[in-house]
């Protein structure tokens, strides 16, 4: 099966290539990539049929005129909920939602039931994903058995089975000695330790960001410091051990400052944030909106500005979704009982494009943070349009406007605070392993 993508504006940060050109895909691999007009000035907006009849008749032509062509996006923080919580999401529905959102590779967190703290669970996930998944699924294994924070899980064996990173996400590793050991031990297997930074003695019972708003809503708050104390601790441990640390879902100004300083000192740390941390403040919870209840919580304007600054200067390397689907019934409850989480795969890219429109990032920088940067951290051969790589490609329309309609989400999780928002810029076609998944 041959596919040719023509007239699109190709942007591949991994090779520092951009311009209008063509890509030829054969048997699921990128066979050719030619830029006809590097960094072309104007691009025509309408879609014209410029099919060159001289092309081979066994090639499917995709006319990407007026659209961008980039490597398929990589999301290194997704909760697929399978095994154990299939009523919230399954590998099948989660990967379908990923494709809709423009992602061709996703990493799933281990807080399933049973926890992915053993090679057998890793094997199950990989097998299920191969059978039913719509995109690539790379499991993240647990750091500790049962994610209890007490004993290290079999990191080496799990890596062999297919885990690309390790995290107790959902939980922090409260015990500093265990975190130290994890960072040291992981060096043998060259895998990153992804840390969910939260001091649960400070955040205990907390539901939203601590401040005047939480006070006037009568909701127990989680102070910024609950995140920052653990960020700092983990940075010091990374420095002590030389292990590879990746900080998950950064949400506060203080965290960005700590990470910036650590990087300047040469500590081996990378960091990610999520679209809701640069798109919404704590005001989204007014009216007790459980769809805005997330951990870490939505913060203040000041924190949003700092997150954008950190994205701009490279302190934050990756934009991930922390896709956390929940069943409708679970979010339709007393605020304090509703689970934390936002279903983010289907809105992430559009929200991230806002950063380009606001001048925070160039389009190239944005694509970097969602393709080659996570690929490097995970040490995988993806996020690139290099000749010979698997044909994982996203075609998107920068101008397409649409209403977010949670009811129509492909994910089982309809829990989004962005319901009803008008977003601009959306995936139009996602190609995985050379197979087209049309989305318009």
């Amino acid at each position: 099966m041959k596919i040719k993508i023509i007239n699109g504006y190709i942007l591949d940060p991994s090779q520092k290539i951009e311009g209008i050109g063509e890509i030829l895909i054969e048997d699921g691999i990128i066979k050719e990539l030619n830029i006809n007009r590097p960094k072309a000035g104007s691009r025509s907006r309408g879609i014209k049929d410029t099919t060159n009849k001289k092309d081979l008749s066994d090639t499917k032509i995709i006319n990407a005129e007026g659209k961008y062509v980039v490597p398929g996006l990589i999301d290194m923080h997704v909760h697929l909920r399978e095994p154990g919580f299939e009523y919230k999401e399954s590998i099948k529905t989660g990967t379908m939602a990923a494709i809709k959102g423009g992602f061709t590779t996703i990493c799933c967190m281990p807080n399933t039931l049973p926890v992915n703290d053993h090679a057998s669970v890793t094997e199950f996930i990989i097998r299920k994903a191969t059978q039913e998944g719509f995109c690539k699924v790379l499991p993240i294994g647990a750091i500790t058995k049962g994610q209890k924070g007490e004993e290290l899980a079999e990191i080496g064996t799990m890596k062999n089975e297919g885990c690309v990173a390790f995290s107790d996400d959902g939980n922090p590793v409260m015990n500093s000695l265990i975190m130290r050991r994890a960072l040291e031990y992981s060096k043998a297997f060259n895998v990153p330790i992804i840390s969910h930074c939260e001091d649960i003695t400070l955040s205990e019972g907390g539901l939203v960001n601590e401040g005047l708003l939480s006070l006037t809503l009568g909701l127990k708050g989680i102070p910024n410091e609950a995140e920052e104390i653990m960020v700092y601790r983990d940075l010091l441990l990374a420095q002590l051990t030389g292990g590879r640390l990746h900080i998950a879902h950064v949400s506060t100004e203080g965290s960005t400052k700590l990470i910036r300083d650590a990087k300047a000192k040469g500590i081996n740390v990378t960091a990610e944030t999520c679209p809701h941390y640069f798109s919404l403040t704590e005001d989204a919870i007014i009216g007790y909106n459980t769809n805005a209840k997330v951990n870490p919580p939505l913060r203040t304007k000041k924190d949003i500005e700092a997150i954008k600054e950190a994205l701009k200067d490279g302190t934050i390397d990756v934009i991930a979704t922390d896709h956390a689907p929940h069943h409708n019934d679970e979010k339709m409850m007393e605020f304090e009982k509703a689970p934390f989480g936002i279903s983010g795969l289907e809105t992430a890219f559009s929200l991230s494009l806002n950063l380009v429109r606001e001048g925070v990032l160039s389009l190239t920088q944005l694509i970097e943070k969602m393709t080659i940067n996570p690929a490097k951290i995970l040490n995988i051969n993806r996020g690139t349009l290099k000749i010979g790589s698997q044909a994982d490609i996203l075609i998107f329309d920068m101008e397409k406007e649409y209403h977010v309609n949670a009811k129509e989400f492909i994910s089982k999780g309809k829990n989004t605070p962005f319901d009803g928002w008008v977003l601009k810029g959306a995936p139009v076609m996602t190609i995985y392993k050379g197979i087209i998944k049309e989305l318009v």
Binding site: E204, G205, L212, T216, G218, L219, Y288, E334, E336
Partner: protein, 306 residues
């Protein structure tokens, strides 16, 4: 003149609406002084008391108010219901609506529950206390009582003493009194008074003697044993020594100060018995006024166009 079918909190009311409720309550207080303490105003309507937290005085007060307006009253107490069997909050509420409730008086340990019900149900939802958020009818009856004794609320020096952070009564009172123009100050240990309250325009004192100077109205709060987490203060003994209301401390306030308490009291801990039973205490007036104020709230909500 009320714009919403529900009473969820003082935050949602304007000062005009608050005064309208208080004026209406005066009319109802007259009824309570008569031989026949009943009016046919809301005849045929159904009131459901949906209390997920234990309460005697508030529930009884609402029950009396509802009956005096001639509504039919059902008491739905959580321990005797299917909630114990694991029924979700929404299912319980929809069942109550299907029974034909016109008014649902809800008390729940989770903040925001009345707001959730107000969105889902057609009945008028009255918040009788949600978590550590608000207890609006308590603040309204407190304001009514103050107005009765002091004529004007504007410019009064009001001190609220005790466990502010866990007290929905304190919060509703802070919102209500500041909206009506009183000067509010909070007195208590720093662990129980978050500094963010300063942003609401109130003063904060940690020294009781300082805090009581020149006070016209003194509101004492119950030390909530059941809401304490860890480390807020070392012992009730130490609390009482530093922030308990004794006759000596009461003398620091103005001569004509009135002493209020939402009840129930921990006699000897936050307030001494002789003050609770003394001439400056208006605690029992608060109870009487509570019925009139709750009648006013129900009457006015019934008149709001759906």
């Amino acid at each position: 003149m009320l714009t919403s079918k529900d009473l969820l909190g003082i935050k949602e009311l304007t000062s005009e609406e608050i005064n309208f409720i208080l004026d209406t309550a005066s009319g109802f207080k007259d009824i309570l002084g008569r031989d026949i303490k009943k009016v046919p105003t809301l005849r045929g309507k159904t009131t459901v008391n949906l209390f997920f937290e234990p309460s005697t005085r508030t529930r009884t007060s609402f029950e009396l108010a509802a009956k005096r307006l001639s509504t039919d009253v059902i008491n739905f107490s959580v321990t005797t219901s299917s909630v114990v069997k694991g029924e979700s909050l929404i299912d319980t509420a929809m069942t109550v609506q299907a029974l034909g409730a016109d008014f649902i008086i809800i008390r729940h340990s989770a903040s925001g529950v009345p707001h959730l019900l107000a969105k889902k149900l057609k009945a008028s939802i009255i918040n009788a206390g949600d978590g550590i958020n608000e207890h609006p009818t308590q603040a309204l009856l407190d304001a009514f009582t103050i107005k009765e004794k002091k004529q004007e609320i504007k410019g009064l020096e009001v001190a609220i003493v005790g466990d502010i952070v866990h007290s929905r009564v304190a919060k509703s009172n802070i919102y209500c009194l500041t909206k009506l123009g009183a000067k509010v100050r909070l007195v208590g240990p720093p662990t129980l008074i978050p500094k963010e309250f300063k942003d609401l325009g109130v003063d904060i004192h940690h020294n009781m003697e300082e805090g009581l100077k020149g006070v016209d109205v003194l509101m004492m709060l119950r030390i909530q044993m059941e809401r304490q987490g860890k480390g807020f203060f070392p012992s009730t003994d130490e609390y009482s020594k530093n922030w308990g209301l004794t006759p000596d401390r009461l003398a620091i306030a103005k001569n004509d100060v009135i002493v209020m308490h939402p009840g129930p009291m921990n006699r000897g801990i936050e307030i001494s018995s002789e003050i609770a039973d003394g001439p400056k205490s208006v605690i029992l007036d608060q109870v009487t006024n509570g019925i009139a104020v709750r009648m006013a709230v129900m009457y006015l909500l019934a008149g709001v166009k759906r």
